[in-house]
Symmetry: C2
Subunit: 208 residues, 2 copies
């Protein structure tokens, strides 16, 4: 299906476009133009049309896109039309924040299992999901058929956790620990380094 | 100084390269090749050379880059050679995680003021910084000359907070609230939407 290499930035924008479409009240307007989308998410209209053109012809010239059908297409492209079990490893401040993060819930992402090594945390519940000992990670993640593992542990144990997630057959890992992980190339890995976002801003400071 | 438009992806990679250089033990090796950098951060060597070429000639053919001087150049480009005061607004689970996030501290980012509206949180301290009532945001942020404001409040108050930060003369805003903010174009705004990272992974799922 996806034989053309789609740029990373395009994939990320698809996700942003879809979120915008989610918020349109289709009782008020059933269509949307590339100009509307572009303005709302802060890119230029040509970019919107180019991004969508990778996947076919969605719009009608002079009319725009049908909000509902475009969003259904995008959700399908992003594989969000099927439920996805996610395992969260590391229930510190960041892990707790992720478990409660409204932005995940809105897009249908649910954590089906949460792990930590701290006996004080094991057995507590968040959103009805119990925190389980990390010793049982491989067994439970495999049972749950979790396709994504999120690592929010301290850096020093992140590689070990990644190895366990791979053994438990996750397809993808989202890593919040500030460390480069060595992972087999068939596993999709995405590192979230929050400092990168700050440095993007400082780069753009006016020279003084 | 920065008259050429530098691609966003390049700026982000500069930050990633710099973090890698930070971790090299220069007692063991004072030089590094673009191949080493590329392999360690997971891009191709041509990309590394292209990214650095925007800013001049740093390497010596056949020898590579001097680790220390390249990193100093990168830190300067990223404006990390000067101290930057940051205001954090919203001290919920995510705000608390951000205040403790090791990845910020390692790169010299410090929160000089933290705000919340919850009387239970006001007056508590994290890393020696007291949580202050959000009513005093404009006054304190301006006094502190904070150049960056981080918003980790609920979505419904994020616009109001952004307006206050702009009045208090921040230059940049890093927004974690899942909402599009309307900000004057002279303020740099970066939205961190954590769900985008998950959707990047689900996009790459094998079709079943």
């Amino acid at each position: 299906m996806k034989s053309i290499k789609i740029p990373e930035a395009t994939i990320i924008r698809l996700s942003v476009y879809s979120r915008y479409l989610d918020k349109i009240d289709i009782r008020k307007s059933s269509t949307v133009s590339s100009d509307d989308i572009a303005q709302s998410v802060g890119v230029n209209p040509f970019q919107v049309r180019k991004d969508l053109a990778y996947f076919g012809e969605f719009g009608i010239r002079g009319v725009g896109y049908n909000v509902k059908s475009l969003n259904q297409h995008l959700l399908k492209l992003l594989n969000l039309n099927v439920k996805c079990n996610i395992a969260l490893v590391g229930f510190g401040k960041l892990g707790h924040a992720l478990a409660l993060y409204q932005g995940f819930k809105e897009r249908g992402f649910v954590f089906t299992c949460i792990f930590d090594s701290d006996p004080q945390k094991i057995g507590t519940k968040v959103n009805g999901v119990e925190v389980i000992s990390v010793d049982r990670l491989e067994e439970i993640v495999e049972q749950n058929h979790s396709r994504i593992g999120i690592i929010s542990t301290p850096a020093k144990v992140a590689q070990e956790i990644a190895n366990s997630l791979v053994k438990a057959r996750v397809q993808s890992i989202l890593n919040f620990a500030p460390v480069n992980l060595n992972i087999a190339p068939e596993i999709s890995l995405r590192n979230v380094d929050l400092a990168v976002n700050l440095e993007f801003l400082t780069f753009n400071f006016d020279d003084e």
